[in-house]
């Protein structure tokens, strides 16, 4: 019993902070999302409505933003997998002497301030940016290509930001692939590509899936990079929530969007953790 009392004493301070300034604020967002908003009058406090949620599904503009967010999540995840797998493979299977430097080069951008990384892409991609200047100078194009404030810029920037997470997840799972199995297959005459397809790839599936879920969830939640590389016009769900609160002051719509986004991320994380538990039980 003494143990329980000191346990509660150790736990209580953090639990209180999280209840008072995380759980309660989130719960208090619920009633806001069912209020009506009228421009000029603000939030109308008598009566409830589910219009804010219906709007997300029926309003053309909202639907476009939601679909774009999901689509960006899928594309960025795919790109991270495609670019990340060879890097992870080189780290785990390449020359051991390169290993630490390569890992550090993957971690470094991860630890670097997100705003700085996004700013770097602005310097590269904007109309008078490095890439356009270079292409114009060597005479490949006459007018600058539109690389920013659209899908291109967003895809490049977000892939760059979340690639390190994918690489680190894949490294962890590649390390668990027993090399004897691959060697056995090679001895029995399998080609390198066949070994990769039939052994390495399936055995790293858990890493591929957890890395993909992480990158997808991070991408659909991202605010900073989409705003810096997408501008005020090319919106995703997070930037729309930001504008509903800061510019339009339509808090009810913002709250409904917030819940929809949070519901999506929590559901995906919950489903994936259930899935991995079931697999662990099978193995």
């Amino acid at each position: 019993m003494v143990n329980l009392r000191s346990g509660l004493l150790l736990l209580a301070p953090l639990a209180l902070v999280l209840v008072a300034s995380f759980a309660i604020p989130l719960i208090m967002l619920v009633p806001t999302s069912f209020r009506e908003y009228s421009p000029g009058h603000g939030i109308i406090t008598d009566g409830w409505t589910i219009r804010n949620y219906l709007n997300i599904l029926t309003d053309d503009y909202y639907r476009e933003v939601v679909v774009r967010t999901a689509w960006l999540g899928i594309s960025v995840t795919g790109l991270c997998l495609l670019l990340g797998y060879p890097v992870a493979y080189l780290i785990v299977r390449g020359n051991p002497r390169w290993r630490l430097p390569l890992v550090m080069l993957v971690i470094f951008p991860l630890m670097l301030n997100l705003v700085v990384r996004s700013f770097g892409w602005i310097v590269l991609l904007s109309n008078r940016g490095l890439i356009n200047n270079l292409l114009i100078d060597i005479g490949l194009i006459e007018r600058p290509l539109k690389l920013i404030f659209n899908l291109t810029g967003m895809l490049i920037g977000l892939t760059h930001i979340y690639l390190p997470f994918m690489v680190l997840m894949l490294v962890a799972s590649l390390q668990n692939v027993p090399r004897d199995v691959e060697a056995a297959a090679a001895t029995l005459g399998s080609s390198r590509f066949h070994i990769f397809r039939a052994i390495t790839l399936p055995l790293t599936a858990p890493g591929i899936i957890s890395g993909s879920i992480l990158v997808f969830v991070l991408t659909i939640s991202a605010l900073v990079t989409p705003r810096m590389l997408g501008g005020p016009v090319y919106q995703v769900m997070a930037t729309l929530i930001y504008d509903e609160y800061m510019q339009l002051l339509d808090w009810p719509s913002g709250a409904a969007l917030s819940f929809s986004l949070a519901f999506a991320t929590v559901l995906i994380i919950w489903l994936s953790s259930r899935m991995t538990k079931r697999w662990a039980g099978l193995a």
């Binding site: 509660l8 639990a15 208090m28 971690i107 700085v116 200047n133 760059h160």
Partner: protein, 262 residues
């Protein structure tokens, strides 16, 4: 013995991708030394003017100061609260440890912008928005999961028998924790604290809803000034951040083998 090794094509592609990861960093550093506000190849001329401008501009200096104070206070508070709570959970001193651990990690599952707007509405309602303590508490909420994650991993990875041995030999529980447990979990905690510091230093989605006019942090300053257009000052202050990150990362690697904890 035939080993599966990456071939030439795979290796070259992977190295290109690693270069892609460093590309914005290289460009920002070059831009900060360039005379023109837009970077060209080759650069039009070299200058240190932008650094002088940033280091004498009170807006930037203030933002750096506020960011550092905020990140250090939030990380210290997160460390104390997070390690205490993790200890109670890892040693099964309280029931429902798995559910409790997920609750402490929950801020990671909710998009930061959602936490931001929820706090904006709540702290405005209770009249605490704009206070610096409010901002520190908000940063504890978003940084503490990183501390809890590394503390739980380190605590469950260590041998409990060592702690018990200290207790048998007459140490009270706090002394046993301080002299035996703490040194054993220290590398993990250093890594967790570094993550917490980085997360606080770069946070925009929560800070931007809560910070008062005099509490503009460095990332908020860069984020909002970029909307006005690219200025070399931003490149210079970014270069300072790049150098600081590089130094801290290399030191952390030397002291604790940081890459094992990522």
């Amino acid at each position: 013995m035939t080993e599966q090794k990456p071939g030439f094509i795979v290796s070259s592609f992977a190295l290109l991708v690693v270069f892609f990861l460093q590309l914005p960093v290289i460009v920002v550093v070059l831009a900060s030394f360039s005379e023109t506000s837009y970077l060209t190849i080759p650069p039009q001329g070299w200058t240190l003017d932008w650094f002088r401008e940033v280091l004498t501009d009170s807006t930037y200096l203030n933002a750096i100061k506020i960011s550092l104070i905020l990140a250090v206070s939030a990380t210290c508070l997160s460390l104390v609260l997070g390690v205490a709570a993790s200890y109670a959970i890892a040693r099964r001193m309280v029931p429902g440890s798995e559910a409790l651990a997920s609750f402490l990690m929950a801020p990671l599952a909710i998009p930061a912008v959602v936490i931001g707007v929820a706090m904006l509405q709540y702290f405005s309602l209770v009249g605490l928005r704009g206070g610096f303590v409010t901002l520190i508490i908000a940063h504890v909420v978003i940084t503490v999961p990183y501390i809890v994650r590394s503390a739980l991993a380190s605590l469950s990875g260590m041998d409990v028998a060592m702690e018990e041995a200290a207790r048998v030999l007459g140490a009270d529980s706090f002394t046993a924790f301080r002299l035996v447990t703490l040194p054993l979990i220290k590398p993990g905690l250093v890594a967790g604290a570094l993550f917490s510091f980085v997360v606080s230093m770069e946070n925009v989605p929560v800070t931007i809803f809560l910070a008062g006019a005099r509490q503009t942090t460095l990332p908020i300053l860069i984020f909002t000034s970029v909307e006005m257009g690219v200025t070399p000052g931003v490149a210079a202050v970014s270069t300072l951040l790049i150098v600081a990150t590089l130094v801290v990362l290399l030191l952390a690697e030397r002291w604790t083998g940081f890459h094992r904890f990522v």
